[in-house]
């Protein structure tokens, strides 16, 4: 049965693994150059002095390829779910061929288990290989960026978890819906929805963030003003913690109360009435150009508030990166196993 499952699957496998080979060639051609560039510019920038310039120049290399490969790692699991998973059983049910194959001398249970096994394994291998190749290729950029959580779901282990989940989700949709095209559509929607939900509501809550305090000073205050017409406030700056995943930064007093607009205006009346506020660069901020005199007003203000207020940062340190990787992988693989069990049960009991 294993060989028959492979016989039916090999054309589809050839398409995906052929594409994967093309990607591998491109990565192999361009990758070593990036490593060399990194070693000669960013790695030695401390000796030459200007690291931020060296980094930003380095990051401009192969930027389009980087975007392309990151996108590929994100979409490949979805493609696997839609094109390998959803039709696996749905097409058999739709075309009636299940009556042919389920009356050969192989039980239906064995049939579905081996189908899930062979194509599922290929899904994991395909997405896993792609993820690892892109991880290797991107490693100079990722080191230069020093923000490893930004590309979290395009690196290392998690892509193979997504692929396993997407594939089994597709199969289950096909088993339940029994029509190929609707099953493909449902798979795509359910997969994207699950990824978004897990990213926004599950992943950040897996491990409680670390809290750290910093003194309120010229480094931790990025500026002041109003964000999108909100209350007048001081803008906290993210402290320089490489590869951290920042949840929040705010100014609080010793009791933990955040700095209110009343406290700020009464302590620093000059700031608000001043000719123009200073504010961090970026969108959504009104009047970002500091006027003469505003700098010293801010300086005075920081000096006044520093006695009672400090900056509190909630974040995940780089050391937890692998915990998050393993946790998310375990979640997706666990769900995939449960869905696979449901598929097998449904094919055995309900489709008869």
């Amino acid at each position: 049965m294993m060989r028959f499952a492979w016989l039916q699957f090999r054309n589809q496998a050839a398409v995906v693994f052929g594409g994967l080979a093309v990607v591998a060639v491109i990565l192999a051609i361009t990758g070593p150059h990036l490593v060399h560039l990194y070693d000669t510019t960013v790695a030695t920038c401390a000796a030459h002095g200007n690291c931020s310039t060296a980094t930003s120049v380095f990051l401009k290399n192969d930027h389009t390829l980087q975007i392309l490969f990151d996108a590929l790692v994100v979409v490949v699991p979805g493609i696997i779910g839609v094109f390998w998973g959803a039709p696996l059983v749905a097409r058999e049910l739709e075309s009636g061929t299940f009556r042919l194959v389920w009356t050969q001398s192989v039980t239906r249970t064995r049939w579905i288990v081996l189908k899930l096994g062979v194509v599922g394994l290929a899904s994991i291998v395909a997405a896993g290989l792609l993820g690892l190749m892109v991880t290797w290729w991107s490693s100079p950029m990722d080191r230069a960026n020093a923000s490893m959580y930004t590309a979290f779901d395009q690196r290392d282990l998690v892509p193979l978890g997504y692929a396993a989940f997407a594939f089994v989700l597709g199969v289950l949709c096909g088993v339940l819906i029994r029509r190929t095209l609707p099953a493909m559509g449902t798979t795509l929607v359910a997969f994207v929805a699950t990824r978004l939900l897990v990213n926004h509501f599950v992943l950040p809550k897996l491990i409680a963030p670390t809290q750290r305090s910093f003194a309120l000073n010229g480094v931790t205050v990025q500026g002041f003003g109003q964000m999108n017409g909100g209350p007048f406030t001081l803008f906290p700056a993210n402290p320089n913690i490489p590869n951290a995943w920042f949840y929040s930064t705010q100014f609080v007093d010793r009791a933990g109360h955040p700095l209110s607009t009343q406290v700020l205006t009464s302590a620093c009346p000059l700031l608000e009435s001043g000719p123009g506020p200073s504010a961090p660069a970026g969108g959504g901020v009104e009047s970002a150009v500091p006027a003469p005199g505003a700098g010293s007003a801010l300086h005075d203000c920081i000096a006044k508030l520093a006695a009672t207020y400090h900056e509190v940062v909630a974040f995940q340190p780089a050391s937890r990166y692998w915990s998050f990787q393993w946790c998310e992988l375990a979640i997706y693989l666990g769900v995939a196993v449960v869905l696979a069990g449901t598929c097998i049960w449904w094919v055995r009991r309900r489709l008869s």
Binding site: F4, S95, G96, R99, W102, Q104, S105, T107
Partner: protein, 298 residues
């Protein structure tokens, strides 16, 4: 004598509707069994239950003494040709035979290729481009080459033109003669079955109407006609299947084990088709009576 198929109180329900109801049947081994009935009578359901594709809602079914679909051994003993003979349209004929070889432990590869060759089908051709007749032959080849003890065929000739129909049945009869398998094949046309079957099961409106040897059916059914009389005045051993009356004459189709002694009757032999149609008509009348009975109660 072992039964090729034995059912007791067998039923299959879809939602509220019974596709097959209270079906009790024992088909002896070594026969070519015709399963005949109008469309929607439950023929497909019965055959799929026997092939293990469906599980019964009520009652039991045994095929060759085993539980359908219970394991590879049982699946290997039953060859099944599904309605419309499905095949993987993108797989070639030889890939289908490869499938047979990979999925069946008693597969006869030589037989399979010999048959495909005899049918003049190119093994490299994709199943999707075969004609209906060729696809039916491929399905039959797959079912035979797994060396089953019983072949179940669900309306194998329904979608074929008359020539392909005759060819298919001819090949089927050759196989039966050569390998001695039991066969159950369904059709809604008696004409298809008349030439090949030696046992007949009439299934109408999810119920078995009659099941017996063809020779026995022909010997015990008679069409009798005579002066008009009430069919209830017949001897107790004569069962009326169909009756029609004119002002002066009564014509009956009856079943009886005994000779017809009443000299008032003229007896004429009946064809298998007459018998099947009579049973179908009887089932329809019973159904009408049941429905109008319900109407009165309501």
């Amino acid at each position: 004598m072992t039964a090729v198929m034995e059912t007791a109180g067998l039923g299959k329900q879809y939602g509220k509707r019974w596709a097959l109801h209270d079906c009790s049947l024992a088909i002896p081994e070594g026969k070519v069994v015709g399963l005949v009935g109008p469309n929607g009578a439950g023929k497909t359901t019965l055959l799929q239950l026997a092939a293990g594709l469906l599980t019964p809602t009520a009652g039991t079914i045994e095929v060759l003494g085993g539980h359908p679909g219970s394991g590879p051994e049982q699946l290997g003993r039953v060859g099944f040709v599904a309605q419309d003979t499905p095949a993987y349209s993108r797989m070639s004929v030889s890939q289908h035979l490869r499938m047979g070889a990979l999925l069946n432990s008693h597969w006869d590869d030589e037989l399979a290729f010999r048959r495909i060759e005899a049918l003049d089908i190119d093994p490299r051709q994709r199943a999707g481009s075969l004609s209906g007749g060729q696809r039916a032959q491929l399905a039959l080849t797959l079912a035979i080459a797994k060396r089953p003890e019983v072949l179940l065929l669900d309306e194998p000739v329904a979608s074929l033109d008359p020539l392909a129909r005759r060819e298919f049945l001819q090949v089927l009869m050759e196989v039966v003669a050569e390998h001695g398998v039991s066969v159950v094949l369904s059709s809604h046309l008696v004409a298809d079955l008349e030439r090949v079957c030696d046992y007949l099961v009439v299934l109408v409106a999810s119920h078995i109407q009659v099941a017996d040897d063809v020779a026995e059916l022909l010997a015990t059914h008679h069409r009798i006609s005579g002066p008009r009389r009430d069919s209830r005045s017949l001897p107790a051993d004569q069962h009326v299947i169909e009756e029609s009356h004119t002002d002066r004459q009564t014509t009956l189709l009856i079943r009886t084990e005994q000779p017809i002694l009443d000299p008032a009757w003229t007896t004429r032999p009946v064809t298998l088709e007459d018998i099947v149609l009579a049973y179908m008509g009887q089932a329809r009348d019973q159904e009408r009576a049941r429905k109008s009975g319900l109407g009165v109660l309501r």
